[in-house]
């Protein structure tokens, strides 16, 4: 799964899950599951013409859990047919299917919009 490196989602993970992670470290014997990233270098030669920006990569399993930990609820969840939509906690995630590519998820954080900034959008691609 790939995603845009614009990092709105990474910023939200830092802001919203980090507090939880630090509190979980205080619990003895609990191994907490934390979001992490890994750098991947790609060539633009293999980018599809329909994709106009770099996409990050993740899996359905990981993005499902991360969305729940960000406070969103999955209103529609059918990744086999490319239907995924999560809302809640002033955030929206919506999936779009691109042929020969997979599922692209757009993430919008309305929190920054309330502060006077433009909504943060983040796109993901799920490779089947």
């Amino acid at each position: 799964m790939r995603g845009c490196a614009g990092s709105p989602l990474l910023g939200s993970i830092h802001d919203r899950i980090s507090l939880l992670s630090r509190e979980s470290e205080l619990i003895p014997g609990v191994h907490c599951v934390l979001p992490a990233i890994r750098f991947q270098e790609n060539s633009w030669d293999f980018q599809l013409p329909d994709v106009v920006r770099p996409l990050a990569k993740t899996s359905v399993h990981d993005i499902t859990i991360i969305a729940r930990r960000l406070g969103m609820r999955w209103k529609e969840f059918d990744p086999v047919h490319g239907i995924m939509r999560a809302e809640g906690n002033r955030q929206i995630s919506n999936a779009t299917t691109i042929r020969s590519l997979g599922i692209v998820i757009q993430y919008i954080d309305a929190q920054s919009n309330a502060d006077g900034e433009s909504p943060k959008a983040h796109t993901f691609l799920h490779r089947r």
Partner: protein, 206 residues
């Protein structure tokens, strides 16, 4: 070489005059002596300004054109004009050279497809890892960009932000710096979120 007899390539003094003779002798073989009478009738002042040489008794111009007192004095009078012409031609050629160089560089940098879509306006701090690689076989640039692969890792008691090639997103400054995320100070600290899913459910159900 006797003056007024033949001119060979080896005695041509500069590229400008060599170009003239090359144009004139395009039908003949190189290294073949060129008859002087094959040169067109060109005023001596123009040839001198092209050569950027003042006529002297031993120079090639004097070998081509036997000096006479009238022509010598006339050329000395036009020496200032020759300098101006040479300087202006040098400036114009220099400007043309830099324009051609800029066009050449722009032409090759334009071969980097998608490079403008991997800039800071699109990728924020991740654009710092965008680079170009030159491909000799195709004689073009290839755009290489870096994107994150987001995954979940299990932390152990030896917790560290950077574990192998993975960087944990824990909200600390070092984690933000390593993950190329800008700090967001505008977010309120008591932001509401749901505390779910961080403990594997299997541990709760033996």
């Amino acid at each position: 070489m006797a003056a007024g007899s033949t001119v060979t390539w080896s005695v041509l003094p500069c590229a400008g005059f060599g170009r003239i003779c090359g144009l004139l002798s395009c039908q003949s073989q190189p290294r073949t002596p060129i008859k002087l009478y094959s040169l067109p009738v060109v005023p001596r002042e123009i040839i001198t300004s092209l050569l950027a040489l003042k006529p002297s008794s031993t120079g090639p111009a004097s070998q081509l054109f036997p000096a006479s007192d009238n022509r010598e004095s006339k050329s000395l009078e036009l020496g200032g004009i020759d300098t101006h012409i040479t300087a202006s031609a040098f400036v114009v050629s220099l400007v043309a050279f830099f324009i051609a160089l800029g066009q050449l560089l722009q032409q090759y940098f334009a071969t980097a497809g998608g490079y403008r879509r991997c800039q800071r306006s699109v990728m924020r701090n991740w654009a710092r890892k965008t680079r170009l690689r030159w491909r000799w076989r195709e004689f073009r640039f290839e755009t290489l960009y870096t994107t994150p692969e987001i995954l979940l890792v299990v932390s152990d008691k030896f917790y560290s932000v950077q574990k192998g090639d993975c960087i944990t997103l824990d909200g600390t400054n070092i984690s933000r710096k390593l993950s190329l995320v800008e700090s967001n100070e505008s977010l309120p600290p008591n932001n509401s979120y749901e505390r779910v899913c961080w403990i594997p459910p299997a541990r709760e159900h033996p």
